[in-house]
């Protein structure tokens, strides 16, 4: 990126290379700290979750999106508003299950993996697993329990990256005992 191109852009926008490289440094560090890829995946998901539960606040405050009435609407908001806002991409939504409780996000290019090549000895590492945690955490804060996982990954030779989302249940408001 040239020296000039970032000047005068919107104030909330920033250089995505910084984010991509920082994320890369994190994954590298985790791979050093943990012995197997499974643990790295788990840790990434956990960190993503922590980010998600906070990111949702930022998102709702800035996007003016109200409550979603069904999962299809949720899918639209995630793909067209949230991904656009935070990563500058718009994934496409496909593969709806007949019941309408499952769909896939297809990412043509995943900004997290811009400069990445997976070495052979990390075949079970889900490099961008942070994203799953973010989606899960954010949706949990709006009363949706959702299962999120990668089913295709360009890093592993697939032609696109696919994130599968499955709606589990609606989380009921739990009032503390003694309050109405």
């Amino acid at each position: 990126m040239s020296r000039q191109s970032n000047r005068g852009t919107e104030s909330k926008k920033m250089n995505s290379e910084l984010f991509t490289l920082t994320y890369g440094a994190l994954v590298t560090q985790l791979c050093k700290d943990y012995e197997n890829d499974e643990d790295v995946n788990k840790q990434l998901d956990k960190m993503g979750y922590n980010i998600g539960v906070r990111l949702i606040e930022d998102f709702l405050a800035r996007s003016n999106v109200g409550r979603c009435h069904d999962f299809r609407e949720t899918a639209d908001v995630i793909a067209k508003v949230a991904f656009k806002m935070y990563l500058g991409i718009t994934p496409s939504i496909t593969n709806w299950s007949p019941a309408g409780d499952e769909f896939s996000l297809i990412l043509e290019n995943n900004p997290l993996v811009d400069f990445v090549e997976l070495p052979d000895n990390h075949s079970s590492l889900i490099y961008s697993n942070l994203l799953c945690g973010v989606l899960r955490g954010a949706l949990e804060m709006v009363q949706m329990a959702v299962d999120v996982k990668f089913t295709q990954d360009t890093l592993k030779g697939d032609s696109v990256t696919e994130i599968r989302m499955r709606f589990i249940r609606r989380i009921e408001d739990n009032l503390p005992a003694g309050e109405e």
């Binding site: 990126m1 040239s2 020296r3 970032n6 000047r7 852009t9 104030s11 909330k12 926008k13 920033m14 250089n15 995505s16 290379e17 910084l18 984010f19 991509t20 490289l21 920082t22 994320y23 890369g24 440094a25 994190l26 590298t28 560090q29 840790q43 960190m47 922590n50 980010i51 906070r54 990111l55 930022d58 806002m85 935070y86 990563l87 500058g88 900004p111 400069f115």
Partner: protein, 159 residues
Amino acid sequence: MADEALFLLLHSELVSCVYKSPEQGEAENGRCITKLESMGFRVGQGLIERFTKDTARFKDELDIMKFICKDFWTTVFKKQIDNLRTNHQGIYVLQDNKFRLLTQMSAAKQYLEHAPKYLAFTCGLIRGGLSNLGIKSIVTAEVSTMPACKFQVMIQKML
């Protein structure tokens, strides 16, 4: 283009991931700082490679420091370093009066004891950037009142 909120949240997650227990000894604390710093170092190396792709060769050390204060800082933190001082013997002090990673935390002395964790990554960022421009250095940071902070760069002369 990514959004700033993502980086800020990722960074604070990075810090809390490295610092697993809140109560730990001095030695363990040092290890955590080193870890954060070395992550920053890698990122700095990568960034400077991308940013200097189209720039002319730097004249001297000072020119490089100016680049760090202006262009590098603007791309990363969207503002310039507010004050650059040097003793012309290899020590530079970069002062940022409103450091982005501290602004949301406090505007006075509250949480001052936690500030070093949030500076280590950036120290590495500077050191990594300089390193890829051929300058070996030691970078430290100090805060007296948030969100202002000073980064001190000590250039190691190559023998």
